[in-house]
């Protein structure tokens, strides 16, 4: 029959039976990259189209990348739904039972997903810029610092979306619902002039806006109230802390 072929001493504790962290990261990168290759391609293509359109349709001198960045950030925010598709907390046994700490494993999946979405968006952007260039609308390009802050903005929103994906049963509802409620609340308070409450509630939105808008400033333009990198770092910290918490969530397979 064949099972008696290679008798082997019991591995037990003599062999290290747990995979190395880097190995697990590679596996998760492969998992997301292979499992979501169609979605990643679609994101790249979409991003490329948006950037190309924005560059070719721009009227003012110099690129206006606001809409491109907005697109990227929204895509990053929605991406966790795809990363965790089919694996809400109640149907995640395979992932959880692999011999890696659950929190670490969740964070590695989130990291792998983040890596891919940034890569996909960046590739799309470059392709869009290249396409626009071919059509005669070469852009001045992004300053490296600006590009970094764009990535930071995407990662913040990706991180916040990942909190919902890893810790809730229906992340879609949260991802769409929370900002909706927030925006409605702010609009309502503003409309009724309920200060300073409205101002306080708006502050995170404004600072996030600024964090996202940083790359829009081309070299030489006035920097204005420059708390931008700080705002981004603050948001990165918030998203990171929320993720560290959410990733520790260990749902129970209960029996009704």
């Amino acid at each position: 029959m064949g099972t008696a072929e290679t008798p082997r001493a019991r591995s037990g504790d003599a062999v290290d039976r747990r995979p190395r962290v880097l190995r697990v990261l590679r596996s998760q990168l492969a998992l997301v990259g292979l499992g979501r290759r169609r979605e990643l391609l679609a994101v790249s293509v979409f991003m490329g189209v948006v950037v190309a359109w924005m560059l070719t349709a721009a009227r003012a001198p110099g690129p206006d990348v606001r809409s491109a960045l907005g697109t990227a950030v929204v895509l990053g925010y929605l991406w966790p739904v795809s990363v965790w598709e089919g694996e809400p907390p109640s149907r995640r046994l395979y992932h959880r039972l692999l011999p890696v700490g659950e929190r670490l494993h969740n964070l590695l999946r989130i990291g792998a997903g983040g890596t891919w979405i940034v890569a996909s968006l960046a590739a799309g952007t470059l392709i869009g810029m290249g396409a626009a260039g071919l059509l005669g609308h070469a852009s001045a390009g992004f300053a490296p610092a600006a590009a970094l802050e764009a990535v930071g903005g995407v990662l913040v929103m990706y991180g916040l979306g990942s909190v919902a994906a890893v810790a809730t049963e229906h992340p879609g509802r949260w991802i769409v619902g929370v900002p909706l409620v927030y925006v409605l609340l702010v609009a309502l308070l503003d409309a009724h002039g309920v200060q300073p409450l409205a101002g306080w509630l708006e502050a995170p939105l404004r600072s996030l806006n600024r964090a996202v808008e940083t790359p829009l400033r081309t070299a030489g333009a006035s920097a204005g109230g420059s708390s931008f990198p700080d705002a981004l770092l603050l948001w990165l910290a918030i998203a990171g802390a929320a993720l560290a918490l959410a990733a520790s969530f260990r749902p129970e397979p209960g029996r009704g």
């Binding site: 029959m1 099972t3 008696a4 008798p7």
Partner: protein, 138 residues
Amino acid sequence: MEGRSRESLIRVRSEDPRPIYVQIMDEVRRGVVLGALRPDDPLPSVRDLAAELRVSPNTVAQAYRELERSGEAYTRRGVGTFVASGVDPGRLRESLARGIAEQALREAYRSGVGVDHLLAEIRRAAGQDARPEGASTP
């Protein structure tokens, strides 16, 4: 449901009232009595026999230990278990026959059939069927 070993026709049955390790021991004895196993012949490894019979390896190991204890087999560390050299097929046949007789008596008693009645029926049944070759005369 049966399990059969390729190597030495060892067979155990779930419906058999005897514990599995006893069945294995008796099968080894049967092999010796019938000449399929000769002195110093190797018995299948514990692992192989367990797999073939779909039984726990500890059960096979127990059977081999008991055979060793009764002098019917010996173990060479790292090599395996073998039929003992001094094993006497005649004596084994006797103990097998005794086991069969005891089982028949148990069945008979269970149904209220007495010893003499049973003996008479055995003779009658033996007289009716063709005697198997090589069977010794009673």
